[in-house]
Amino acid sequence: MGISIELEVNGASVSEEVEPRLLLAHLLREELGLTGTKIGCDTSQCGSCTILLDGQAVKSCTVLAVQADGSEITTIEGLANGEYHPMQQAFWDNHGLQCGFCTPGMIISCVDLLSTNPQPSEDEIRHGLEGNLCRCTGYHNIVRAVQTAAETMNG
C-alpha cells in the first residue's frame, strides 16, 4: 500500500508515493539521491543520519518517511547557500573531521545546537553533541569548529 507524501527538501517540493515502512533516511538517500546523509549504526545512536526536520535535528534512521509528511527538511546538501554555511566553513578551517563519515550529521547537529544556544561553553558543546559519535575520536577540532562558527555567526 503506497502512501502519498509531500515534503519540502532543501527548499524544493517533493511528492513521493512511499511504503509506510520506508525510513526517512532511505527516502533521502535512495529515492532523492541525497547521499550526504549517512547511515552509520542504524540504531538511533551514532547520529550520522541527522537532518533538520522542521528546524530540529533528528535521526532520520528512526523516523518513517510518512511521519515527515508535510515537513520541511534540510540535509547537509541544503546548508550551503552559494557559499558554505558558517558551520561548514568552520569545520573546514579547523579540520573538524578525520575520516569524514560522521561529518554531515555532526554539522547538522552543531547548526541545531547554535540555533538554541548561540554561545555555548565547551562543556555545553560536548554535551550538546552526545547524540553524534565520531569513531575517529576527532572531537577536539569539532569543538573548536563549533566555537569558531559561534563567533562568526554572532559577529
Partner: protein, 285 residues
C-alpha cells in the same frame, strides 16, 4: 535495516485512534517512535499496523490550572525539559526529561510513549511515581484514570489494556517548601540508567521534613518506590546524617542484575544515588 510490512493509520482524534486500535488487535500506537521504530527495525516487534497519533493536537498541550499540571501524551522530552510551566510546577519531570538520550532523541520522544513503553531503565517512570502522577487513558468504553503506582506492572508491561491509549499525564503542582531532584548513574555508552533516583521532599515552617518520596529507575523490572525509606525522614531535620541513616535501610525488592551491573551493585548505587537525590532535593526545598 527496515521494519516488516505494516498498514499505516493517521487518525485525527483520540476517538478515531481508539476505534482503529479496537479494530486491529495487533496494531501498535506510534507517537515519537524512538522506542518503537528501533524494535521494529530489529524485528523484535512486527505489528500489522501502526496508528500514528503524532498529529492529534489534543495530545500536544501543556497546561496548568487549579494547582494541576496536565501534559498531553505527545508532548516531547525537549518541550517538557524547556517548558517554563513544567519547570515551575514539576521541576523533577523537566530535570528527568532533559537527561533522556540526546538532543535528537529529545526532539522526538514523548512522555506518553515513554511511560507506555515502560522501559525500566528509562528516566520518566521514577519521576512520574515520585510525583504521584495520574495517567489518563482512553478506550472504547470511555476514559479512566490510573495512578502511576498502579500503572507499571512488570518489565515493559503496564496496566494499559490492548485497546487503550494513554492521553494525558496529570501532576499536582509543587507546593511551597518542596524541592526535588533526579540523579542518574548512567551507562556511559547507552545513556540508560543503571540506576536513577527521583526524590521529592517538603520542609515545614521550622525546616523539618513534612513529606518525602524516593523512587528508582533501572534497578528492577519496573520503576519502584522506596517511599518507606523516604517516610522515615518525615519529622527529621533532613541533615546529611538523617539522609544517610534513612538510606542505609534501603533494600529494593527484586533488584535485577544484567551484563552491565549486578543486582548487588545496583542496590549500592541506589543507596548512593538516592542519598544524593534526597540531599539535592533538600537543598532546593
Amino acid at each position: 535495516m527496515f521494519p516488516s510490512k505494516f498498514d499505516y493509520h493517521r487518525p485525527s482524534s483520540v476517538q478515531e485512534a481508539v476505534q482503529i486500535l479496537s479494530d486491529n488487535p495487533d496494531a501498535k500506537v506510534l507517537a515519537g517512535g524512538h522506542s518503537l521504530i528501533p524494535v521494529m527495525k530489529l524485528r523484535l516487534a512486527t505489528p500489522s499496523a501502526l496508528i500514528d497519533i503524532g498529529r492529534i493536537d489534543a495530545l500536544k498541550g501543556i497546561s496548568r490550572a487549579n494547582g494541576s499540571l496536565r501534559i498531553g501524551a505527545c508532548v516531547t522530552y525537549n518541550e517538557i525539559a524547556n517548558s517554563g510551566v513544567v519547570q515551575d510546577a514539576a521541576p523533577l519531570l523537566a530535570e528527568a526529561a532533559g537527561q533522556i538520550g540526546d538532543r535528537q532523541v529529545r526532539y522526538r520522544g514523548t512522555i506518553g510513549g515513554n511511560l507506555s513503553h515502560a522501559d525500566p531503565a528509562s528516566d520518566l517512570p521514577a519521576a512520574a511515581l515520585a510525583l504521584g502522577a495520574t495517567l489518563h487513558v482512553s478506550g472504547p468504553n470511555g476514559s479512566r484514570s490510573v495512578s502511576a503506582s498502579e500503572f507499571f506492572v512488570d518489565l515493559m508491561m503496564t496496566s494499559l489494556q490492548a485497546d487503550e491509549i494513554l492521553t494525558e499525564v496529570e501532576i499536582s503542582a509543587a507546593s511551597a517548601g518542596t524541592g526535588s531532584a533526579y540523579v542518574k548513574f548512567e551507562h556511559p555508552a547507552s545513556g540508560y540508567a543503571l540506576c536513577g533516583a527521583a526524590a521529592v521532599v517538603t520542609r515545614g515552617a521550622g525546616g523539618s521534613c513534612t513529606g518525602a518520596s524516593l523512587c528508582f529507575n533501572g534497578v528492577s523490572a519496573t520503576a519502584v518506590s522506596a517511599n518507606g525509606v523516604a517516610a522515615s525522614l518525615v519529622g527529621s531535620d533532613l541533615s546529611d546524617g538523617a539522609v544517610e541513616s534513612a538510606v542505609s535501610n534501603l533494600s529494593i525488592p527484586d533488584a535485577a542484575g544484567d551484563m552491565f551491573a549486578s543486582a548487588g551493585y545496583r542496590q549500592e548505587l541506589a543507596k548512593a544515588i538516592g542519598a544524593q537525590a534526597l540531599r539535592t532535593a533538600r537543598d532546593r526545598a
